[in-house]
Symmetry: D2
């Protein structure tokens, strides 16, 4: 039986979801909602869906099996809440909201129905990261002791975006903080350092362009995250899981396997995938498939709403640590 | 405008083409023909096409813009001929036929309409091989002097298949012979050696399980092809283009970038893609896209019918060389 | 003209220096001093030197052009001081001493003659790290923004050694702290986290078996050091220098280039070099050559005595940070 | 007990041997003979040996335990014969002679004392190739079925050298032919193709600048050798051993492990080792150590005089095959 899906947001990430929904054999993209109705219409035509301007036109329907929320962050809490209240499973892009109080209020309101919400931490579905996660879980490398995540964006977003982004920890590092929790679910301490080394714009906003984060898990695991808002060679996305009996690492991805050897240098590969739409295209597909499977099975979703809450709390702790020069204990976090 | 496609053959390769046609934004899979009608029906249901048993039911229609021929080899000449006569562009799996006389008779019959036929040498569309080909063409590595192709199947086909396969040169090496011509169009000499090192079945059939081929191009280029009918570590598909100013190589592909480091060994990657359906999935898609583009533009197809003829002639020359221990001159080939 | 060298210490590192001095075309190993005279004699026989038990028998001679101090840490300050007072250049293994007050007192005593002392931070002479350092210095990757150092020992030293080691920061991380300063000379802030994940012995000693360190340079550079006292796959020694226009990285070294491909996995390389004697054998030779060149040229030595002082101060700051959960500012360090 | 060694030849390869003999703990370089006495003297001074102009001054001595023959090819047979007659083990650079009749006459004269001669096929001692050879011998990859050797020189020798070189098969491929026999001792068939793609000089000499060789072993193994007299990216020396249960390959060697990632390309490594003196420096040392061990043990030498004979016969068969376009059977070779 085909699941009928509504999509909120016809922007860049909306296009990714729309194409993946259309290509999924068991999903049908029924309606796309975006107040910028022209964008919704163009995307709807490409994918055979209906275009509407208002969420009301989605929630007034009775034929929707799931919603995918790819609209701007400020709309997330409202759309999640309405979906939950109507009993429709929702896959929502991160973050739930930039304000932890708003997030907690949302959680209080939806209560234990939060388990019908899936958070769009797409990287958990990357084939390489997922494979490492599973192999760590089977004990292939013994006890996980250290996790090193290197994550650099190709270039900073425009200043307009940065202004409302919530800062590097809440906007960018949050993906890595969730990746850390994918491997080390219980983080007990956060230490972070921020720096300004290349962008006057970012410095003017009181934000950092480069950060390093150290997390401690409840079994003593040390997680190390290195972030930069720019990277001359593309979208740098690597991870290594160091265990007592081995190490597993995931490298960057080049579009072909071609390597060149010449008088100047050898083993030259093409530049790596430039940004998340290419690098994580398989991850977005797998994420959507997991959402579909979760709707069918009713067994709950992962990453969960709470995963979204904790990632934001970790990001806030990073900011506090970077600003105060103190390690932040998270022992009091309860979600 | 959508192009309406008919597919012959609902077997393994038929499934690949059916899925790719269905996923292509500008193509519509209208009808699938296979005398094994149950197979045709199953595949047709998955892709929203009609299923028919006889080619007649395809050629009697007037709404077909192109045919994809993925049926058994003995049907190729007939289907090509009928498509050409009806003025419908055809993408035909290799080989045209195992018998060069039959192939030449077909060519005589269809005459200069052969240019409406595209041969399914899918490897030309592999992103890595295609990228190397283009970079060689731009002169990035100077004059091409040597080409080394290593191509090993994971395991021999069943004896029943092997009996009718035409032998390793016509069945397996033919792909590498065409790959050679992708880089060195004019081959003037063929030398080949065959051996039997692991399969009694293949030896009993008077065939070889392992071969090495040396080709000479008209500019003195030396092409070296290494084939085996089995390979313990998967589908080994590599190529290096050696030029006067550099070398470009394409490596095997692993499903993830994960590498493991342990006490026993380091840099362990996953096994490579197992066989052609996975290894060349992107190539099959690109091949189909090129076919669609060729239909639209009317500018002809590549690889062409003649490419299919020459590949077969080269395979025949390989066999003759391996059996006689003599280098075979191809100066008399005219297609 | 040959330089005549005296060596203090006939232990493990003494053997390395003795062999390198003997093999260096311009150096002659004249005398080896070790209170364990049997060890000194054995080594002296192998290298054609004289063996003595007491340093007095070295400093009473008038034919020594340089001393190499490879004896236990508690002897370093005394031997450095005596060499300096006698006007003999000294290459001393790290650390100068585990106690910063003792180190400072030594510095005060030798004053500006400290410039006749070279510190044995061997990793600066590793061909890969040195090549990256030089390429960064030429501006090849623009401004250096981040430095990631991953450094793991194959296994912890015996408990007896660990007890007097000064702890992981002063004993092990100190090499990485100096490597950090090789790229980012002026460190202004230190943040460190320690953990106990595998060794009860180390925990009993009040020490950490795993640490992560973040340093900030005076231009905002962020340095990230990951250490573990064990590593199942050998001596893990990697580094990446991330600049505004590129990244340079150094990988681990395997004894051969052999890679195996089999049904289970592909690209399997041999285990990496097991420990520092193999991994840094080229570095020890280059270090000695730099010492010889420094004696000849009289142009001073690098790494210097002060580099040894600062590395120890950074290690102390790491310990303070790990114990207090606070970032330590180093603005007041003046050497 | 130290073995006293005499060296013939103070040229490029003589320097390699002189340095290695001097550095070997159990060998003493006693005398260097070269009619170009100035060269002999310079090298002798560096290594503490005596210099003489004539071989007579070597063979008149009674204190020589072994000779290393690194003089020009036309002197080899005479020096081998004199060493054998005097009962002194000899390590002789390849080839024994360019003329097979001369080689056979030499063999007849020295008879079964040929077992006191070791041939300098240095590549057998390369750590990577030797490791693969040993692993193949243990059955780690099952039955060896195919061997692919890619071997390209960085640039052709000067025309003067080429004129007396005996041609590419006897001068260059001979190393690869011996490498083939290191893995597949009994070669029964030779097929070769030669081409002229870049050097007018070489073509004028009636020689080839590029060749491909196929060998068949007596168990059906297929060996494939690809040679070029030039290579823009350095000294290309690779090998893969393909067995029924796995494949082992050896890659080129770069001087450091440094890789660069930038906007244009990723994974850029330094150029590979430029030529045999660097690439095979460890092999030359291991070869000399094997020679020393063979003198001590009296257990015979490998590669043997006969290995030198067969390599030359294979090279001659290559030439015949390339010139006639016929596969050459070697069934009649008996040495």
């Amino acid at each position: 039986m085909t699941l009928r899906i509504a999509l909120f947001g016809a922007g860049r990430i909306g296009h990714v979801h729309a194409a993946n929904i259309a290509a999924h054999p068991d999903l049908e993209l029924v309606v796309i909602a975006d107040p910028f109705i022209d964008g919704a219409r163009t995307l709807a035509e490409e994918t055979g869906a209906e275009a509407v301007a208002s969420p009301d036109e989605v929630f007034s329907r009775d034929d929707i099996d799931g919603v995918v929320i790819g609209s701007p962050t400020p709309t997330h809490v409202d759309l999640i809440t309405r979906a939950v209240e109507k009993g429709i499973p929702a896959l929502c892009e991160k973050p739930i909201d930039l304000d932890i109080e708003t997030v907690r209020a949302c959680k209080e309101q939806i209560g234990n129905k939060a388990n019908t919400v899936m958070l769009g931490f797409n990287r958990r579905f990357d084939p390489s990261f997922a494979a490492i996660n599973q192999r760590v879980a089977t004990g292939e490398i013994g006890n996980l002791e250290q996790l090193v995540i290197i994550s650099r964006d190709p270039a900073p977003a425009p200043r307009g975006y940065l202004e409302g982004s919530g800062g590097i920890f809440r906007d960018m590092s949050i993906h890595d903080l969730d990746m850390a929790r994918y491997f080390v679910p219980n983080i007990v301490e956060v230490t972070a350092s921020g720096s300004n080394v290349f962008s006057q714009d970012i410095e003017d906003l009181g934000d950092y362009d480069s950060v390093v984060i150290t997390l401690r898990g409840d079994r003593g695991e040390l997680v190390n995250i290195v972030n930069s808002r720019h990277c001359s060679y593309g979208y740098d996305q690597r991870l290594e899981a160091f265990g007592s009996e081995g190490m597993l690492e995931a490298a960057n991805i080049t579009p072909t396997t071609v390597r060149k050897h010449s008088a100047d240098s050898t083993n030259q590969a093409n530049p790596i995938m430039n940004f998340f739409l290419e690098r994580y295209s398989a991850a977005y597909q797998a994420e959507l498939a997991a959402f579909a499977e979760g709707i069918r099975s009713g067994a709950g979703f992962s990453p969960s709403f709470d995963d979204g809450v904790i990632a934001l709390e970790l990001a806030n702790a990073c900011l506090e640590s970077a600003q105060t020069g103190r390690t932040i204990s998270l022992s009091t976090i309860t979600v």
